[in-house]
């Protein structure tokens, strides 16, 4: 790509107008070039340098009133260095550049600044929530209301109704909504994963002697939603231990706050749920943490940030600014040094409405497990926004494995339509982060390797499955 008008404004040998008779390198096709003098790349390679160049160009041009001849002869007379120094005395060019970059968000004026973003009050929503009290939305010029939602079904319906501009969802939800599984079909996109890891299997304190899943026949388990990693990971875990999740145990959909109460009442034997309700069960002395889901799949996706495709398409700048705020918040949350500060910020009644020590144990990973030990697992919950396409394919294999969808699936096409890995990677790069170079990779789940290139083969390798 060449943007001819973005030549170096301080170079007297470059013509910024590039008229018909222009002899600069950018205007002459490579084959007909007879001089190598003054050859420079017309456009800087990275975004930062490009913005710098744009600002210089605009300032220098305006100084000469757009008169190219005046600019070039003036620069030749006094020299580019002297002019740049003199200009810097009048205009703080660096600060102008910084200001332009700050305001860049989605690359233009925001179409809409007041947004409603729904969240379910669990620690997985940390970046979405903390961006409000800690000012990440505000810095992008957004006035966001983060609205507490009673459950996933309501989050889905309010998103479909457009009451929410964007929402905290479970990673399988945008796939299911797009395919019309469990709802009317509407194209949704998932530009970022909220958190990785961050769930656990909790058992009732009375089951301390039943740590082997083979002893779980007849147990009643809770999961928060059918289209959830919780459901798929619990099914995967018990199936690997030879139990059929539909025959040998009962899996019930129970909203997270009710899980602790049901566990206390003996109505559930255990659950695989999001935090803080695992830690809360320990805190309430009714349950213990059997295992963290990171032990099933290290780095598994959990919750997601999702919005309708229409929102992303119709309001690109707003969407871009929102993504910027969330990616920054996610990066901030990923640093263990910030976790205590974040715990205090998201605990109040307006957000999670939980005791700070409970949140802190979840986010810092130094926690009482309910079995008498204090464990230290810094990545018990972690934050990595990159929405691997391979993760989407894995979720689809499990949806098919347990009969939530049937027929032939174009795994890759669906994953790529919903999980915006490439786009998110570019945004991360622009922010100075280092996303992975590819969007597919193998994942190891309980020692078994998942190759996203062969989802059907993977699916047929399981002894226990529906489809």
């Amino acid at each position: 790509m060449t943007i001819k008008s973005l030549g170096d404004a301080f170079n007297p040998d470059v013509d910024l107008t590039h008229g018909a008779a222009c002899a600069c390198a950018a205007c002459i096709p490579a084959g007909r070039r007879f001089t190598a003098a003054a050859v420079e790349p017309a456009v800087p390679a990275d975004t930062e340098a490009l913005v710098d160049r744009m600002v210089e160009n605009a300032v220098v041009r305006s100084v000469f009133g757009g008169n190219e001849i005046a600019r070039r002869s003036f620069l030749k007379t006094i020299g580019a260095g002297a002019f740049a120094a003199a200009l810097a005395g009048i205009i703080p060019l660096d600060r102008v550049k910084a200001a332009v970059k700050d305001g860049m968000g989605g690359g233009g004026p925001l179409e809409k600044t007041r947004l409603n973003i729904g969240f379910v009050p669990i620690t997985c929503a940390t970046p979405i929530i903390m961006a409000h009290p800690m000012g990440f939305y505000e810095r992008q010029g957004l006035d966001v209301q983060v609205i507490k939602t009673a459950g996933w079904a309501v989050a889905r319906d309010k998103s479909l109704n457009k009451e929410y501009d964007a929402a905290h969802m479970l990673t399988p939800m945008p796939l299911a909504i797009t395919m019309g599984a469990g709802s009317t079909a509407q194209p949704f996109v998932m530009p970022a994963v909220e958190n990785i890891n961050g769930q656990a299997i909790v058992l009732h304190v009375g089951h301390k002697d039943k740590r082997d899943p083979k002893q779980w026949k007849g147990f009643k388990f809770g999961v928060p939603f059918e289209y959830s990693m919780h459901n798929f990971l619990l099914r995967y875990y018990v199936a690997e231990h030879g139990l059929d999740p539909d025959q040998d145990i009962q899996i019930r959909v129970v909203p997270p706050p009710e899980m602790v109460a049901n566990l206390r009442a003996g109505n559930l034997d255990g659950y695989l749920s999001p935090d803080p309700f695992n830690q809360r069960a320990v805190w309430e002395k009714v349950g213990f943490i059997h295992l963290l889901t990171k032990e099933i799949w290290e780095g598994h996706p959990c919750c997601a940030f999702a919005c309708s495709k229409a929102f992303a398409d119709e309001l690109p700048n707003t969407y871009g600014a929102l993504m910027m705020a969330l990616l920054e918040a996610t990066a901030y949350a990923a640093d263990p040094a910030n976790r205590k500060e974040i715990s205090a910020a998201i605990a109040p009644a307006n957000y999670l409405n939980q005791p700070v020590p409970v949140i802190e144990q979840v986010l810092t990973g130094r926690f009482a497990d309910g079995l008498g030990a204090v464990q230290d697992v810094p990545d018990r919950i972690d934050f990595d926004p990159f929405p691997w396409h391979s993760m989407g394919v894995w979720i689809l294999t499990q949806m098919k494995r347990w009969g939530y969808v049937s027929g032939d699936l174009d795994y890759r096409a669906i994953a790529e339509q919903v999980y915006l890995a490439t786009e998110t990677g570019e945004r991360m790069k622009a922010m100075g982060q280092t996303p992975p170079e590819t969007t597919y990779r193998t994942h190891t789940i309980m020692g078994k390797v998942f190759d996203p290139a062969d989802p059907e083969g993977y699916l047929s390798s399981f002894a226990i499955r529906r489809g």
């Binding site: 009050p121 983060v146 507490k148 009673a150 459950g151 109040p348 020590p357």
Partner: protein
């Protein structure tokens, strides 16, 4: 000897004091061990022993909440006064819409034995449907959670009003209608000057049943859709497993319900007549 009324009030208070006293004393707050190691602290120490909150805890919470009922700390954290206001607003809208349809329709059904018999099966099938069963359908069709909550109030408070109005109108003493006929009153005049006053007590009884149901339902509806309202308040405190707040809000819900019933009760006395 004081009057029966005063003695009854004194007895009520004595019973209340005994119940609360037993409740308070049988439920002592756990005492934390002086020295706690890290594990004990991370387990929450003695603070989280599962126990029903004592009356003094609830009074303390009530004082906290009621001393600043209209604070607004963001979309998910508002004072109890604002929450009740939202709930009353939704109940009011749904209830008025139901009354606006049920009363005239009930009147017509009551006047016509044919319509009464023809529509009765529909009413009998729709009436026992749990209001929350309507919620998913409402969310899907109306596509707005606020309007859905109001619709659920509407659909559950319409039946008692409709049935009672129809019943009241159909059972106006035939003598009175005949007297009106001998005085050569027109249909409209008969309806407003004879039938309406005669059926009014039954109609208001229906309205009184409806407001009770509406107030029952709004709590459940708001727990489901969230956002604002006393139902959301209960859900949010439940989310925090904070039983003290839950018990406090239960008491508040009861008192508001009683107040609503008293208003309709006063209306019932106003339209009552002696044969």
């Amino acid at each position: 000897m004081p009057s029966l009324r005063i003695r009854a009030a004194l007895l009520s208070l004595a019973v209340l004091a005994v119940i609360l006293g037993v409740w308070e004393l049988s439920n002592p707050a756990p005492v934390a061990d002086a020295a706690q190691d890290e594990y004990a602290r991370l387990m929450g120490g003695a603070d989280t022993q599962a126990r029903l909150p004592a009356p003094s805890d609830i009074l303390g919470r009530a004082w906290e909440e009621l001393s600043d009922p209209f604070y607004d700390a963001g979309p998910n954290d508002k004072g109890i006064g604002i929450q009740i206001g939202y709930s009353l607003y939704r109940v009011g809208l749904g209830y008025i819409a139901a009354a606006a349809i049920a009363l005239p329709l009930g009147f017509l059904i009551g006047m016509s034995p044919l319509a009464y018999k023809a529509l009765d099966p529909f009413i009998q099938v729709l009436r026992p449907i749990s209001p929350l069963a309507w919620m998913p359908l409402a969310l899907f069709v109306i596509k707005d959670s606020q309007a859905s909550a109001i619709f659920v109030i509407f659909i559950c408070s319409i039946w008692p009003m409709l049935l009672n109005t129809a019943f009241g109108v159909a059972n106006v003493r035939k003598d009175w209608v005949n007297v009106a006929r001998t005085h050569e009153l027109g249909a409209l005049a008969t309806a407003f000057r004879v039938i309406l006053p005669a059926a009014a007590p039954t109609i208001v009884t229906g309205m009184r049943i409806s407001i009770g149901i509406a107030w029952l339902v709004i709590v459940a509806a708001e727990m489901l859709v969230g956002g604002t309202g006393i139902g959301y308040y209960v859900w949010n405190e439940w989310n925090n497993l904070d039983l003290t707040s839950v018990v406090f809000s239960i008491l508040i819900i009861g008192m508001v319900g009683m107040a609503l019933d008293m208003i309709l009760g006063a209306l019932a006395r106003a339209v009552a007549y002696a044969d």
